[in-house]
């Protein structure tokens, strides 16, 4: 196995001395006879971005939806801020791969949707929505409809909606996979800024190795059949060098190469 180089990288990082915002404990999930997840445990440090990375079929989206409370695990439990998850809750917000916007509602109504469901008064939730529409760079599009926006802009709406409810934990299911490459890069840079400004815990599912290494404080590599966490990588040196320098940092390049080396065997 070509996994030893990754271990060297992990070894450089500081040992686990963070506080967990989300803990996944011995989660198993079966669909009939099919084992989607087996006895998976994982810690997500507070205020940081953790990526779930792996080939298709490794159960990363399943795990994310279990954390979101959208799926019930067959066994095991998820704790968010020490409380066991039994369904969707105010402490978590979800960003969907296909954006999941209401096509019949304007941007501002879409962004305010989470607040509307929580019973926030109309004027108040619109003020909050406006603030986050600005924050994701969509000022001026408040009254537009989703179909009038590009894919990238639609996902900004999805992101603003998740930010607007001010949850501790942001769950992102391959949020940039449906947008074009350049938009995606811009998104990744913006996401790094967001992790800095917003004091939130991000859980980020992706199948792109470069993306995971670029945006993450911690990368959990998931492998399929049976699904398990094979590695946890915590890049240390390039995080503070600025968004422009990450992609040519030697450590960044090494980690990308090493992850590919260990995943290569699982790609059909």
């Amino acid at each position: 196995m070509a996994m030893s180089p990754i271990k060297e990288v992990t070894a450089q990082t500081t040992p686990m001395e963070f506080e967990s915002a989300v803990s996944v404990r011995n989660i198993s999930k079966n669909y009939g006879d099919v084992e989607a997840l087996r006895d998976m445990s994982l810690e997500f440090p507070r205020g940081q971005l953790t990526s779930l990375l792996g080939p298709s079929g490794c159960g990363k989206t399943t795990l994310l939806k279990i954390i979101a409370g959208l799926l019930e695990p067959t066994s095991g439990q998820v704790e968010v801020n020490g409380k066991t998850v039994s369904g969707p809750g105010k402490d978590r917000a979800f960003v969907f791969q296909d954006f999941a916007l209401l096509p019949w509602a304007t941007v501002i109504r879409n962004v305010a949707f989470g607040l509307e469901m929580r019973g926030v008064a109309a004027s108040e939730r619109e003020a909050i929505a406006e603030k986050y529409i600005k924050e994701v760079g969509l000022a001026g599009f408040e009254q537009s409809y989703p179909h009038e926006l590009s894919g990238g802009m639609r996902q900004r709406v999805g992101l603003a909606r998740a930010l607007a409810v001010d949850s501790d934990v942001l769950l992102m299911d391959e949020p940039f996979s449906a947008v074009d490459e350049q938009t995606r890069r811009k998104f990744q840079e913006d996401l790094l800024n967001l992790v800095q400004i917003e004091n939130k815990t991000f859980i980020f599912v992706t199948h792109s190795i470069e993306e995971a290494v670029y945006v993450s404080d911690q990368i959990a590599i998931l492998l399929p059949r049976p699904s398990r966490v094979s590695e946890i990588i915590r890049p240390s040196s390039f995080r503070d060098k600025g968004v422009d320098n990450i992609r040519r940092d030697p450590e960044y390049l090494d980690i990308v190469d090493n992850i590919w080396a260990s995943l290569r065997g699982y790609v059909e």
């Binding site: 296909d98 999941a100 019949w104 989470g114 929580r118």
Partner: protein
Amino acid sequence: MIVWGLLWEIVGQAELTFFIPPLSEVLATLFSIIGTPAFQKALAETAYAFFVGVAFAIAIGIPVGILMGKSRLLDELLLPWVNVFLSAPLTALVPVLMVLFGFGMKSIIITTALFAIWIIILNSRAGVIQINRSLVEMAHSFGASPLNAFFKIYFWAALPEILGGVRIGIIRAVKGVIIGQLLISIVGFGALFELYSANFLMGHFWAVLIVLFALAFTISEFLAYLERRVSYYASKR
């Protein structure tokens, strides 16, 4: 339209059959009877039965259809019946309704609703079934209550199909209201049809028919317009 109108006129003028008077005569009759109390009473009675029947069909049909789309159990319980009634010759059921509900307006309204409701149920159900799953997950993840999910997600997402169902349902309701009036009790336009055809007043007969077609056509076109407005965004979903 113009070609068919001309053809009608020619056939009428040629006096091939008493059954088809010239179109010009029909139109003249139309304008002469439109102001008569008998006609206006018929119009009011028909419109009343029609709108009440349609209102019931919509108010019951849409929620039932949406619930069927959401609940597997309800769907399996009700779908066979909906399909049976959709394709059954409902006219044959009218005598049963007469026994159950008497010979008055009530039976006519129920007949109208029965003609319209099944397709409304079926289309609302189809609209809900094709909803983007992630919209449902989205509502769930943001803590939408079942009531909120129903009114803020399911209804709107299924609206284009619902409107399509309502449009077809209303066209069927026109049939229902006339058949009801003819079979159950001779009131409204049904009474006029009966009166005119029994007395061989073909000009009058056609005039009433034209009014009826025009009404049904206008309503259906209005709904088609609404549907197009809604589909404008719905096609982008």
